[in-house]
C-alpha cells in the first residue's frame, strides 16, 4: 500500500512502541538462541573430555584428568600436532611476508592489473579448497616430485594468504597518504618510510591477518588431505581419521586442549591486534 508521506497520519505512539518492542524481542530471542548454539559445542566438548568413563556421554560420568594424561602416550598424535605447528608457522611467516608486500602494491592502486591480482589472490576463499588440493597433488606428481612438507606449506599459503591481504588491505585503506608524503619530503627513503610510518600504522591489521592465517593453516583439512602423507600427517587429518574410525575420549581431550589454546590466542590477538575490530 503506497502511502505518501504527506497523507500518512502518524500512528499512535503506543502502536509504535509495541512494534519496536516486538522487533527487539523477536531479534533478541533469535540472537540469544544463536549465540547459545554458537558457544555450547565448545563448552560441551571441554566438559565431556573430563569424563572418567570410556564413553563420550554428556553430562560426563565422573570427572578425571585421565584422558589428558593419556595424551602423553599418544605419540602419533603428538607427531601430528608438531607437524601442524611447523606447517602453520611457516605458512604464517610466508603469508604475512608475501601478503603484506602484495597488499602494499594493490591496496591503493586503481589500475586494472591491481584489481585482477586482487580477484586472483582472493579466489581461494571462494573456490572449493578440496578441488585445489587435488589439483596441487596432480601437479606435484606431474612435475615428478612426491608430496613433501615444502609443497604442503606452499599449498597452505595459497589458501591462507587471502586473510592477510584482507586485513592488511583494510588497514592500508585507512592510512592517510599525506603521512607518507610528509615522511618522504622530510627525506626518508621508501624503506625507512615503510618501517617507521606505514608498518606501525598497519601493524594491527597485519597481526590480525597473521593470526587468522595461522589458525586457518592449523585447521586446514582439504589441502592437507592430498598434500600430506604418513610422514607429514597433520593434526586435523589425524583427528578426522580417529573420529571416522574409533571415537575415543582422547579425541575429546585434544579437542579440549585446542579450544582452550584457541581462546588464549584469541584473547592475545584481541589485546595486541584488536582482532574483533579488524574482522569488520
Amino acid at each position: 500500500m503506497p502511502r505518501t508521506a504527506g497523507t500518512a497520519a502518524p500512528r499512535p505512539r503506543r502502536t509504535r512502541d509495541w512494534e519496536a518492542a516486538s522487533l527487539r524481542f523477536a531479534f533478541g530471542a533469535i540472537a540469544a538462541v544463536a549465540v547459545v548454539v554458537l558457544v555450547a559445542p565448545s563448552l560441551i566438548v571441554i566438559l565431556t573430555s573430563f569424563t572418567a568413563s570410556h564413553s563420550l556421554k554428556f553430562p560426563p560420568e565422573g570427572l578425571s584428568w585421565r584422558w589428558y594424561l593419556a595424551l602423553g602416550e599418544a605419540h602419533q598424535m603428538q607427531r601430528a600436532a608438531w607437524n601442524s605447528l611447523v606447517v602453520a608457522v611457516w605458512t604464517t611467516v610466508l603469508s604475512v611476508a608475501l601478503g603484506t608486500a602484495a597488499a602494499l602494491a594493490i591496496a591503493r592502486s586503481r589500475a586494472a592489473w591491481a584489481r585482477a591480482c586482487d580477484v586472483l589472490f582472493m579466489s581461494p576463499l571462494l573456490l572449493p579448497a578440496l578441488a585445489f588440493g587435488f589439483a596441487a597433488l596432480i601437479y606435484v606428481h606431474l612435475l615428478g616430485f612426491r608430496p613433501s612438507l615444502t609443497f604442503l606449506v606452499l599449498g597452505h599459503v595459497i589458501v591462507c594468504v587471502p586473510f592477510v591481504l584482507r586485513t592488511t588491505g583494510a588497514a592500508l585503506s585507512q592510512l592517510d597518504p599525506a603521512l607518507l608524503d610528509a615522511s618522504r619530503s622530510l627525506g626518508a627513503g621508501g624503506w625507512t618510510t615503510f618501517r617507521r610510518v606505514t608498518l606501525p600504522l598497519i601493524g594491527r591489521g597485519v597481526g590480525a591477518g597473521g593470526f587468522l592465517a595461522f589458525m586457518a593453516s592449523f585447521d586446514n583439512v582439504p589441502v592437507s588431505l592430498f598434500l600430506a602423507d604418513e610422514r607429514t600427517e597433520v593434526l586435523p587429518i589425524h583427528l578426522w581419521q580417529q573420529i571416522e574410525t574409533n571415537l575415543d575420549v582422547r579425541t575429546a581431550a585434544v579437542s579440549g586442549l585446542i579450544v582452550v589454546l584457541t581462546l588464549v590466542l584469541m584473547v592475545l590477538a584481541e589485546k595486541f591486534a584488536g582482532l574483533s575490530r579488524q574482522l569488520r
Binding site: 500512528r11 516486538s22 533469535i30 602484495a102 592489473w113 573456490l127
Partner: protein, 278 residues
Amino acid sequence: MRLRESQLALPLAALFVAFFVAPLAVLGALSLSAEPGLASFTFRHYVRFFTDRFHTSILLDTLWLGVLATGTCFVFGFPIAWICARSSARWQSVLVFLVVLPILTSVVVRTFSWIVILGRHGVLNQIALGLGMVDEPMRLLFTELGVVIVLAQVQMPLMVLPILTVLSRIDPNLLDASTALGAGAWRTLWRVTLPLAMPGILAGTILTYAACVTAFVTQTLIGGARLIYMPLHIYSQAVGANDWPFAAAISVIFMFAVLAVVWALNLLGRVDRGAAHA
C-alpha cells in the same frame, strides 16, 4: 616510485601462477584426457558425469545443501548482527568474540562436539527424552538436517561479520526519519535497514555458501558414508577409486558450479544496486 611499489605484488603473483593457476590448468587438462598421462583428448569423463543420475544428484544435493545452510545462517545471523550493531562498544566486542570463537576453533573439533550433541545418547536426545517431547531417540547424525544444523553453526561468523559491517555504517538519522514519517519498527526494518544492508548480506551469503558446499569435514563426519556430497565424491574417486581423470572432471564441474552461483549472486547485487539508484 609507482613502479617500485607495484613490483611488491610480484612474489605473490609468481607463487599464485606457479602453484595455483598452473595446478588448476593441469586439473583441467587431466579432466579432458583419456589416460592419466595427459595424452589423448576426450570428453568422456564429463559425459559420464552428466549422463548418470547418481553423479548429477550428488551435485544437486550439494548445491541445495548450501542453500539450506546459508539460509539458516541468514535467519539466525542477521538478528545477531542487528543486535550487535545496536549494542555498546563493550558488548559489541564481546558478541563479536563469541561469534568468531567457533570459526577459529578447529573445524574437526567443532564437528566432533556436534557428534556428542546429536548422537543417539547425545545431549539433544537426552533433553528431548527427558522433557517427554519424543518417545525414542531422534536420528540426527547422518541426516541432512543434522548436516545443515552443524554447517550453520560452523559457518555463521562468515554471515554475521559482513552484515555487522554494513549495519554499523547505516546513518541512524535514516532510521529516525523513517520513524518520524510514521513507519513502525518492522516496516523500517523491511524498507530501510534491509535494503541498505544488502551489500553486506550478499557478501555474507557468497562467503557462507562457498564455505558450506566445500565443508568436507562437516559433511563427512555428520553426513556419514551414505550422504555423499561433492567434496567426498571427489576424494573417494581420487583416493579410493584412484580414477584421477574422472576425479579431475568432477572437481572442474564442482568449481564451475560454485563459481556460477557466486556469479549469479554478484549479478543480483548489481541489479539491486541499480534499483537503489533508480
